[in-house]
């Protein structure tokens, strides 16, 4: 379980997250929607400890993410994250990209790491691209590679940060399919997205972010089809039209 308690986060004088409370249960898919700059992506990076926070607390399976004594490197193995810009390692092949962290972080043998990487590439449908460098892959393939790379660490939670925003429209589907596949496998996911249809269909719950606060949170169909808050309604109208 991920518990976000009254979290605050500032960049210099600008407060981007102004006291957010949220709980993500095991096995659920929570989608974070809202305008650009509303703090969704920052919150995701705070969950992973990639960004420090200025107030409140984030607890993952009983461990305080920003606690002084927390072994962040160990905790991060539980929290896979996939970024908007793929961030595949350009000097490694697809297979090596996936095998790297299991080998050096989990100290798996080279053979085990390669086997694990092969399995995960197959899972995201990239077996035929195993020996290619990221530069030779399409955006969608690179994003699936990034998903495989995160999954190879066997995380309990997967965080997706606008993973389809940088993709050509015809490549979005293959990435979303991979995410749907993960949901059916029971993976707990927090998904920052601008894809309202995906949030409605795949998300269990949706949280609407507005100017650093959560304006509305509820069952995905309810929030998107019958929003209770005026600001949610306005945002959805803008996005859907």
């Amino acid at each position: 379980m991920i518990e976000i308690k009254n979290v605050r986060k500032s960049f210099g004088p600008i407060e981007v997250i102004k006291g957010v409370d949220l709980t993500i249960e095991k096995g659920e898919v929570l989608c974070l929607i809202g305008a650009s700059g509303s703090g969704k992506s920052t919150l995701l990076q705070c969950i992973n400890g990639l960004e420090p926070i200025n107030g409140g607390q984030i607890v993952v399976d009983g461990v305080d993410v920003h606690g002084r004594k927390t072994d962040l490197n160990k905790l991060r193995q539980k929290l896979g994250i996939v970024f908007q810009q793929y961030n595949a390692f350009p000097h490694l092949t697809a297979l090596e990209n996936v095998a790297l962290a299991p080998r050096i972080v989990k100290k798996a043998s080279k053979a085990d790491a390669m086997k694990l990487a092969t399995e995960h590439l197959e899972y995201v449908g990239l077996s035929s691209r195993a020996n290619m460098r990221p530069a030779s892959l399409s955006g969608g393939q690179q994003q699936r590679l990034a998903i495989a790379r995160a999954l190879a660490m066997k995380p309990t939670y997967m965080l997706f940060d606008e993973v389809t925003s940088a993709l050509d429209p015809e490549l979005v589907g293959e990435v979303l399919d991979t995410m749907r596949k993960l949901k059916s496998a029971g993976m707990t996911m927090v998904v920052v997205t601008h894809d309202i249809a995906f949030a409605r269909e795949t998300g269990d719950r949706v949280a609407f972010f507005d100017r650093g606060t959560i304006c509305e949170v509820g069952q995905s169909r309810q929030v998107i089809n019958e929003p209770r808050e005026e600001r949610t309604r306005q945002f959805l109208q803008r996005v859907l039209n």
Partner: protein
Amino acid sequence: MKFQLPYSGLQWSDLPFLLTGIFHTILLTVVAAAIGTVIGIILGWLRESSVVARYILAIYVDMTRSVPLIIQFILVNSVFSLAGLALDPFVVGVIVLSLYMGVLTSELVRSGLQSVRPELKKASRSLGMNYWQELFHVSGPLALRTSFPSWVGTVIALAKDTSLVGVVGYVDILRATQILINRTNEALLMLGVTGLFYFLICYPISLYSRRLERTLQ
């Protein structure tokens, strides 16, 4: 048998002298490049990762870069002499050229590390890698790819800069040539041959680097 070109005092016995000069040039280049590269990697990493180190090292970096090498040779030689330590000219050459190579390499290391997208570092850390794992497996190899061609250029320049070490009495190939010119008056021939030797030292480095660069890419 005495070998003699028309109007020159060149002799076969001059050959070992010249070859020793070539050996000295190669030796000084290799040693200074090796030590300088190690210094440069550490320095470059320090300057990139710590603001304090950047300020502290600024004096050394700017001095070394701005003062002509020939003056550095004479200064280092004189300072040690005044302190009562008469250093071997080879050691003076190694000290000055290594420190110089260190500064130039540190610039390359820095720019290489800066060229790595911060998102890649973030992605590495998000997979549970610690700082050093990320540096050795992601940032380091990527920086190497960026900096390697310029580093080779620096080594070639260093090979040519060794010719200045003659001012403190080290007999490298150019100093040996100058000595022979004084005796034989064959300046054009001798300088032509010496120039060719420098080319023969530097060109293979350049060729090898191109091959290595292709492998790295």
